[in-house]
């Protein structure tokens, strides 16, 4: 008797919660936010698949305007045949114009939604997000995963550092760090990574050029992938990064001095002269790359100091190595702090040809 009672309860109570059957919801894949000409208004665009029959579907898009992300969602919902569900969102884009004004409200709404994952990608777009999302990519974005896969593969196999919604929130809420996001632009029939968007709080304040991406990646995290294009007057070449590690050294006296030591191991992938078999030549190439990387990274760090932002988390690394770290003093001194970078590059292979 009791068993049947429990069984009965299980059956009866399981219908208490509203169901979300896949066929009956609008599965949003990407969301884009733009600044609307009307004051304090934003435009939201969503991409979602529409199923024509069991096997074929098409990616559709919708746009709506409102004062907050929630209002936009409500507006959008008033246009779709099935309720909107954000559980499968994989990319969220902000136009540069909106990012420069600040994206706090939107971010806050998104992070409150338990349906939104943390491994999804955020990006800033040079053009309007709407323009990029509604662009007809024909074959590239048949399943609505093009943007996220493009960012993901670049993070895993190329020069883009590991960035997602979580890393953005991590840096955004960090006292000693500032956020960065991938910076995208529209090409004829593709979206291209143009670099990184630098944030100060929730506002975009600058960019990192795509050619500086690898330098940035080696400065922010240990990495096992990346490719560096180098050139001197007499030759050009490409270094494939196999391993890169970063160490911090602090010199407290006579004044603050932070040294970033980066060890890069790599393989010569491309080299326009024919003498790569000679160890002496390899040495000189290493020296050249080191000098190049140091120059580039100093340029970057100067830029960060000028903007008074710390996307590399230098402050956080100093805090972890300092007892009684004084945050106010650090913030005050950061702009004029002496920071130097020391690269040591080791070329372990020169490709399969001599």
């Amino acid at each position: 008797m009791k068993k049947s009672l429990v069984l009965l309860l299980a059956v009866v109570l399981s219908s208490c919660a509203p169901k979300e059957v896949l066929d009956d919801i609008t599965i949003v894949k990407s969301i884009g936010f733009d600044l609307h000409p009307k004051k304090d208004h934003i435009t939201g665009t969503i991409l979602f698949p529409i199923f024509i029959n069991e096997e074929t579907f098409k990616i559709n898009h919708l746009t709506a305007t409102g004062e907050t992300a929630r209002e936009v969602a409500l507006e959008l919902n008033e246009m779709t045949a099935k309720p909107i569900f954000a559980g499968k969102v994989n990319t969220i884009m902000f136009s540069q114009k909106l990012a420069e004004k600040g994206i706090l409200e939107t971010i806050d709404t998104l992070q409150r939604d338990p349906g939104i994952g943390r491994a999804i990608f955020l990006a800033v777009t040079k053009e309007d997000a709407k323009k990029i999302m509604t662009h007809n990519f024909e074959l590239t974005n048949t399943d609505g995963n093009y943007f996220s896969h493009m960012i993901e593969q670049n993070e895993h196999f190329s020069n883009l550092p590991r960035l997602n919604f979580h890393t953005f929130l991590y840096a955004y809420y960090h006292n000693n760090m500032d956020a960065v996001l991938p910076y995208l632009t529209l090409k004829k029939n593709a979206v291209k990574i143009k670099g990184l968007a630098l944030f100060k709080g929730d506002k975009m304040v600058g960019t990192v050029h795509e050619q500086q991406l690898l330098t940035f990646k080696t400065l922010i995290e240990p990495t096992k992938e990346g490719s560096y294009q180098f050139a001197t007057r007499s030759y050009r070449g490409n270094l494939e990064v196999l391993k890169s590690k970063i160490h911090y050294k602090l010199f407290q006296k006579p004044h603050h001095h932070v040294l970033l030591e980066v060890n890069v191991k790599g393989r010569l992938n491309e080299y326009t002269k024919m003498d790569a078999g000679d160890p002496k030549v390899i040495k000189s190439i290493e020296k050249n790359i080191e000098a190049d990387l140091e120059k580039e990274s100093m340029k970057l760090i100067r830029k960060f100091q000028r903007l008074n932002i710390d996307p590399l988390g230098i402050g956080e690394n100093v805090r972890a190595r300092t007892r009684a770290f004084n945050q106010k003093e650090w913030k005050r001194d950061y702009k004029d702090l002496k920071i130097s970078v020391d690269y040591s590059v080791e070329i372990t292979e020169a490709g399969i040809a001599q």
């Binding site: 009791k2 009672l5 429990v6 309860l9 299980a10 109570l13 208490c16 919660a17 509203p18 559980g87 499968k88 338990p114 994952g117 943390r118 491994a119 590991r162 979580h166 929130l169 991590y170 840096a171 955004y172 809420y173 960090h174 006292n175 760090m177 956080e316 690394n317 972890a320 190595r321 300092t322 007892r323 009684a324």
Partner: protein
């Protein structure tokens, strides 16, 4: 009503007892509850990167208390109600025994209400509190009414079915920053003390032993397994703390209600994209053993004190356990309930039990 039942240590039939190894599951099952989903935030508020030290300190404290509990029970035999009767007399024993029973029941209520909140926030916002409450209480009643051996069995299942969740910490540690744990020992004693007090809430649960001690075969051997259980709990908490600290930046952590659930958002497996739903669901069985032990211990207490049939007490307490969670309607109240139980738990573990231990040293032990 007959108050003399607790005058003698209970005689539990050999067949109703459990083997000493199983205490391991009872201790882990009673300590690890819904608190593991959120405790790091509360201790990190005070000592941030040093939270793991507090977790270890709290774990060591538990061993001390556990040792005290076993010492006095080994010496005098019986259970807490017998000890009270023996130390304080028939009438005076009523007060601490009743308070203990109320406290035990409230720990169950806290776990149930907090879990319901997690379910409502993360999975089913529309599901009414009473429905979840009814479901759990009915199930718990069913388990407890079958006796202590079934409760122990559930403790075993609860452990085995949920222990694999610790592997989910791999992802946050992989994406985490080890420098978040540095520098070590940089807070004042007062901060550590405050954090320690808060940490006690996560470790309460061992006091159920006071009720089920007579059900153990070979209590001396069981003590060893109880300590191993407590150490395992500490290990789970330590792992959770380290992964949470590494994964979130300090201010980000303070904005989260359920850090562990948030960590699971990064866990992406080929066959399941949103791991947190699996995690919350698995936690149903984790809190089931919390509830079962709470209901069993409190109904057992009433049976021992007033000589009422345990099943009658169980029906009554089940109704209370079902109704009270429904009365709490928002986050703030649930938080307050948690704080209150944490405070009472601190006084019980580090105030009352040592006091009782001192008294038990003075009093003459069981005559062989």
């Amino acid at each position: 009503m007959n108050l003399t039942n607790s005058k003698y240590p209970p005689s539990v039939h050999k067949n109703a007892r459990i083997s000493p190894q199983l205490v391991f599951f009872l201790i882990v099952g009673s300590q690890v509850g819904v608190g593991i989903l959120g405790f790091v935030r509360y201790i990190a508020e005070f000592v941030n990167q040093d939270s793991w030290i507090i977790v270890i300190a709290g774990g060591l404290g538990v061993h001390l208390i556990l040792w005290m509990m076993f010492s006095m029970l080994n010496k005098h035999g019986g259970d807490l109600f017998y000890l009270h009767h023996k130390f304080f007399g028939k009438w005076l024993a009523l007060v601490p025994s009743l308070l203990f029973i109320v406290y035990i029941l409230v720990t169950g209520i806290v776990v149930l209400r907090t879990y319901i909140e997690a379910v409502q926030n993360w999975m089913f916002p529309g599901l009414p509190t009473w429905a979840i409450s009814l479901f759990f209480v009915a199930l718990t009643y069913y388990i407890v009414s079958k006796g202590f051996r079934v409760v122990t069995g559930i403790a075993y299942f609860s452990f085995v079915l949920s222990v694999w969740l610790i592997f989910s910490h791999y992802f946050p540690i992989k994406f985490g920053h080890s420098i978040n744990l540095l520098p070590v020992l940089s807070y004042s004693f007062k901060d550590y003390f405050e954090a320690f007090k808060i940490m006690v809430l996560s470790y309460v649960g061992i006091e159920y032993l006071f009720a089920y001690y007579p059900f153990l075969h070979d209590p001396k051997k069981a003590q060893k397994w109880a300590h191993i259980g407590a150490a395992t709990t500490t290990f789970f908490y330590l792992l959770t703390t380290i992964s949470t600290l590494m994964y979130f930046s300090p201010k980000q952590l303070q904005r989260l209600t359920w850090p562990t659930l948030m960590e699971w958002k990064i866990v992406t497996l080929p066959f399941i994209e949103r791991f947190e739903y699996i995690g919350i669901t698995v936690f149903a069985i984790v809190i089931l053993i919390n509830l079962a032990l709470s209901l069993w211990s409190s109904s057992r207490g009433i049976h021992r004190m007033f000589d009422i049939k345990q099943r009658t007490a169980l029906v009554l307490l089940s109704i209370i356990l079902f109704v009270i969670p429904v009365l709490f309607t928002n986050r703030v109240e649930v938080d307050e309930l948690n704080n209150m139980v944490g405070k009472v738990g601190t006084y019980l573990l580090y105030g009352y039990i040592p006091l009782l231990f001192l008294i038990s040293l003075v009093k003459k032990g069981e005559q062989k």
